[in-house]
Each structure stands twice: as structure tokens, then as C-alpha cells.
Amino acid sequence: MFARHALRRFLHSMPVLLLLTLVLFGALKLIPGDIALVMAGERATPDRVAYIRESLHLNDPWWIQYGLYLKKLVFEADLGHSLLHDQPIAKLFASAIPATVELALSALFIALPVGLLLGVVSAVARRSWWDKIASLISLAGVSLPIFWLALLLMWFFSLHLGWLPTSGRLSDEVLFDPAADSIFRMYTLDGLVRGLTGQGWDVFLSACRYLILPAVALSTIPMAHICRMTRSALLDVLQQDYIRTARAKGVSQFKVIAKHAARNAALPVVTVMFLQAGALFGGAVITETMFAWPGLGKLLVESIGSRDFPMVQSGTLFVGIVFVLFNLIGDLVVGWLDPRTKQASSSRGGAR
């Protein structure tokens, strides 16, 4: 039953991805003027323009171009060639994706405990000063422009106090060559492995020092959402009869929250966590650019700025696939946690 439901939802998301490829393909056609000229730039040689025109099959009719584009994507897993970096896009992704994942996970690692704590405190002590302070923090979290917060953090912790670096992922002084020594392409994990295997903790410490400011800047948005959701979900649950029964039986406050309420309040919080994947990436675009963090977001912004359209196409498509998958997994997890939504979503074709 569950497997069938999962398969059904998976198949439902296929047309969406197909549509996305069509839109991305069509978007290239919308650019005014000769696209090969636009992409090559004003000072390109005729050879370069001809090369771009040839490599994009611009001399063929559009349905053939689209077919070739799809064929390359699906059957050859060929993401194309970046014009800006003059490298295969897949290779650029291979180093950028782990960087973004590392940053996003660290941000969640900060946001989750803080958000949960603030949410629980403000729900339990409803309408107290604690509640007001927690609400204000979460409101500020969604309202703070990440780029401004990042600048203020850099100004205070890097320039004023001189504690933390402003850009990059690793200090030059550390004896670590990412190209050769990195296993995960996430330097904190690499450093952790090296530390645990007795090769010293310098890589780990350096990676953490570089990671902390971007992660804090990025964590504000998911932190605020988790806090808000936890508060309202917990308030919902705490009003219910079985909680009153538990209290009447003399169960302690801590036990009521931790054992009786938490399980039922977890559902909306888990849902929000999955939906945060989108917001996290949106934030990562700005955070990575600010802190020169070599991830997917920075790659995408650079490629837009320099009109590297194959990169824009493939980057967007990749992010699209990830989002569709995350939504799917989120739906499935929620359906698994709460059987009621499963029926509702399969009868209404994925409507939430």
C-alpha cells in the first residue's frame, strides 16, 4: 500500500520535470537577438560564435534541438559545458554540491536546536516575556536580510574582533590539498576523519572557523520557521483533552511536553523542515556569494552575471530535480507519520 502510494507520487512528478526541461529549453529561445552572439560576448571571434552555434545545434529546427538536448541529458547524463569556466558542468557540480550541502546542513544543525528550544519555551510559557522575546527573535529571523546580517557579522567578528575569516573554506596554512586529500569534499567531515585517525585536528578546526559565519547567517531563516511552527503545533496539542487528562493524573510538566505532546506536535514541524530545503537553497545563493563559499548558489549567480546559459540551464534543472525529490520525500514522510494525509493526498492527486 505504501509502496504503491510512493510509486504513484513518484510517477506524478515526472511530467513536472519534463515540463521544466521544456521551459528551460524555451527560455533560451526567448533571449532577444542571436543567442550565439549573446553568449559569446561582444568581442568574440567568429570562430567562437560558430563553435557555440554548432554545439547548441542552433542551425536545426527547434524540436530537433529539444530532442537532442533531452537525449544528451537522459541517455548520456551530459550536463553540457560551462562557457565561463570552460569545463564540463558535471565536474563543476561535483565540487560545488558538497560545499552547498555542507553549508546547508551546518545551518540546519544550528537552526534546529535553537528553533525547537525557542518554540517550546514560547508555547509552554505562553504570553510571558519569554514568549514575547522568542516571537521577536523569530520575527527578526525572517525579516533580516541575509546579506545585511552577513555584512554585520563580517564587520564585527572578522574586522573588528579579528576572530574569524571572511571568505573561503580553508586556511592556506593548513597542509591539506582538497583535490588530492579530500574524500567527501566537505572539509569538516574530512577534518573529522583525519582527527579521529590521528592525523591532527588542524583541518577540522580550520574548516569550522571558515564555516561558522556563513552557517550562522544562513541559519536565521530556518530557525525562525522552525520556532514558529513548533510554537503553534505545540499550542494546538496542549489544548487537547488527553493532555489535560495526563496533567490531571499528576504527570509532571516536563513529561507532558516530552512524552505526550512532542509526538503529535512533531508532524507539522517535520513538514516545515522539508519545505525549508527550498528556503535554505534560496538563502545559500546569497550567503555563498557573500562569503565566497564555492557552492552551487555562487556558481549559479556567477553564471547568470556572465550569461553562461548552459550553466544556468543545468544548474536550474539540477536544483529543480532536488526540490521535486525533497517535496516527494517530505510528502512520503508525512504520509508515513500520519496515515490520514496519505489518503487525502492520493485522492486529490498530490494536493496538500
Binding site: 533571449i31 525579516s143 536580510p145
Partner: protein
């Protein structure tokens, strides 16, 4: 049956009368909007005039060496930061408001139609819509800017299109709820045309939710437009816009913190007030939300 239902404005007034944070938010917003509108009267300097010789990096009035001639100080080109923040407010506020208008203008009719017609049309439209909703709107805007090209108008269109799915989703849900109510069936039986049913009969009943979503979207659209300008993909310097000002000030923030603090604080205050107001509106207008602060 509907006689006891208060109008949008009436319930707004009643909520704001008791909601302290909504009052504060409304006050801050009014000050920001009015000062942006009155920029030519309040600012003593032209936001674009350079003065590279005598007044580079003058500090704000409360710092040593500052004066009320340049209340917020001057930037690296000797331009008055106060004037730039005020004039920038016109562009930044418009960059929050107009995209929301575009998004609502496209999304609401689409959602109404989809929810009212139901069936196949609804299935297809909403599947596409769900797909778009899965993307963070800043990413959609980013991609649209990539293909449309940069600039003020394209930025507005891009952010506006990115918000259409949100409005479509909310109005579709409401239209679905209204479509089998007696007043709609009655209008249909009377031979009312489809647009008339949708806009005259269904729309007024879902206006509440649209207003709440619009306020929240105003906040995030402003934030995103400023972010895109900051990344150099929206409004370009020297045009005074809060995000673009931050991008310019980034280079010299160690020696002139005020070039960053004032435009950034303006964005933060505006977005914070809009979110506070949005929370208040939701409490007042959306009967489903039961949790008051």
C-alpha cells in the same frame, strides 16, 4: 445570512485597535512611506550628486566630526546617505509593492478559474503550480532575470512572476470552498457569465486571505528584490536602492560603517513591520488562525 459578516476594513480596524505590535508596525511603515514620498522636501541634497573633494566619508551627525548637514553621513563618492536612503525608499518600496500587484494580478484569476472549474483543468494547472511553488521564489526570480536581462523593470516582472503561484494556490483553495455554496449556484442559475461569477461573487469572499498573503509577500518580495540588486542582478548603481547601496558600501564598510547600517536598517525595519502587520492581519481576517500572540 451574510449580514453579520464584518467588512475587511472593519475587522482590520477592530484588530489594530487592540493589537499593539500591529500599531507599532503601521506607525513605522507610515513614517517610512511618507518620508520616501516627501524625499525632495526632507533631503537637502541630491542623491546622485558626487562631491569627491570636500565631503567623502563624512560620519553621521551623532559621531565625532559629523554634522546635521549630512545626518547619515556621506559615502565614498561624497553623496548624502540620508538623501539616498530616502530616495532609495521610493524604489525599494515600489520593488516590494509592484511585484506583489503583478503576482496577484496573474495568480488570483488563475487560481479562481482553476478552483471554480475543477476537474482536468484544475489538475493540470495545479500540478504546474505545485511545481513552481516547490522552488524558492528568489530562485525563480533569479532565473527569470538571467533570461530577461537585468534592470529595474525586468526585476519587477521577474519577482512578480515568482509570486504568482502563491496567489494562485491560495485563491484556488478558497474558490474550491466557495464554488458549491448557494450564492454561487444561485448566480450560476441566474445565467451570470463566468467572469462575473468569479470576480463579483467569489472574489469578495476570499479577499481576506488574499490581503493577508499580499502583506506577507510584500515583505519577502522587497527582501528578494533588494537581495538581487545586492548581487548585482537588479537595480544597478548609482540608482539609489537599498540593496544596491549595500552592494556599493560593501567595499568600504571598515572605514564607513554608516554606508551599510542605514540602508540595511531601512530594509530590516520595513520587512519587520510588514511581517508584524501581516501577523496582525492574519489574526483579524483569517478565521482559521486561532493562535493570537
Amino acid at each position: 445570512m451574510n449580514t453579520a459578516k464584518p467588512t475587511v476594513w472593519r475587522s482590520l480596524y477592530l484588530e489594530i485597535r487592540v493589537n499593539r505590535s500591529a500599531q507599532i508596525a503601521l506607525f513605522i511603515l507610515s513614517v517610512l512611506v511618507l518620508s520616501a514620498l516627501a524625499a525632495p522636501f526632507l533631503a537637502q541634497h541630491d542623491p546622485l550628486v558626487l562631491d569627491l573633494e570636500s565631503s567623502r566619508f563624512l560620519p553621521p551627525f551623532f559621531s565625532a566630526g559629523g554634522s546635521f548637514l549630512h545626518p547619515f553621513g556621506t559615502d565614498s563618492s561624497g553623496r548624502d546617505v540620508f538623501a539616498r536612503v530616502l530616495y532609495g525608499g521610493r524604489i525599494s518600496l515600489a520593488l516590494g509593492f509592484l511585484p506583489v500587484a503583478i503576482g496577484a494580478g496573474l495568480g488570483v484569476p488563475m487560481g479562481l478559474l482553476s478552483g471554480y472549474l475543477g476537474g482536468r483543468v484544475d489538475d493540470v494547472l495545479m500540478r504546474v503550480n505545485d511545481c513552481l511553488l516547490a522552488f524558492p521564489s528568489i530562485l525563480i526570480a533569479l532565473i527569470l532575470v538571467a533570461f530577461l536581462g537585468q534592470g529595474l523593470v525586468n526585476l519587477m516582472i521577474a519577482v512578480g512572476l515568482a509570486y504568482a503561484p502563491t496567489f494562485a494556490r491560495i485563491s484556488r483553495g478558497s474558490a474550491l470552498g466557495e464554488r458549491n455554496k448557494e450564492y454561487v449556484l444561485g448566480a450560476h442559475a441566474n445565467g451570470a457569465a463566468l467572469p462575473r461569477i468569479l470576480f463579483r461573487h467569489v472574489l469578495p469572499n476570499i479577499l481576506n486571505s488574499v490581503v493577508v498573503v499580499a502583506t506577507m509577500s510584500f515583505a519577502s518580495a522587497l527582501l528578494e528584490a533588494a537581495g538581487l540588486s545586492f548581487l548585482g542582478l537588479g537595480v544597478r548603481p548609482p540608482t539609489p536602492e537599498w540593496g544596491a547601496m549595500l552592494a556599493e558600501g560593501k567595499a568600504d564598510f571598515y572605514q564607513a560603517w554608516w554606508t551599510l547600517v542605514f540602508p540595511g536598517a531601512a530594509i530590516f525595519l520595513t520587512v519587520l513591520s510588514l511581517n508584524m502587520l501581516g501577523d496582525g492581519l492574519r489574526d483579524a481576517l483569517d478565521p482559521r488562525s486561532v493562535h493570537r500572540g
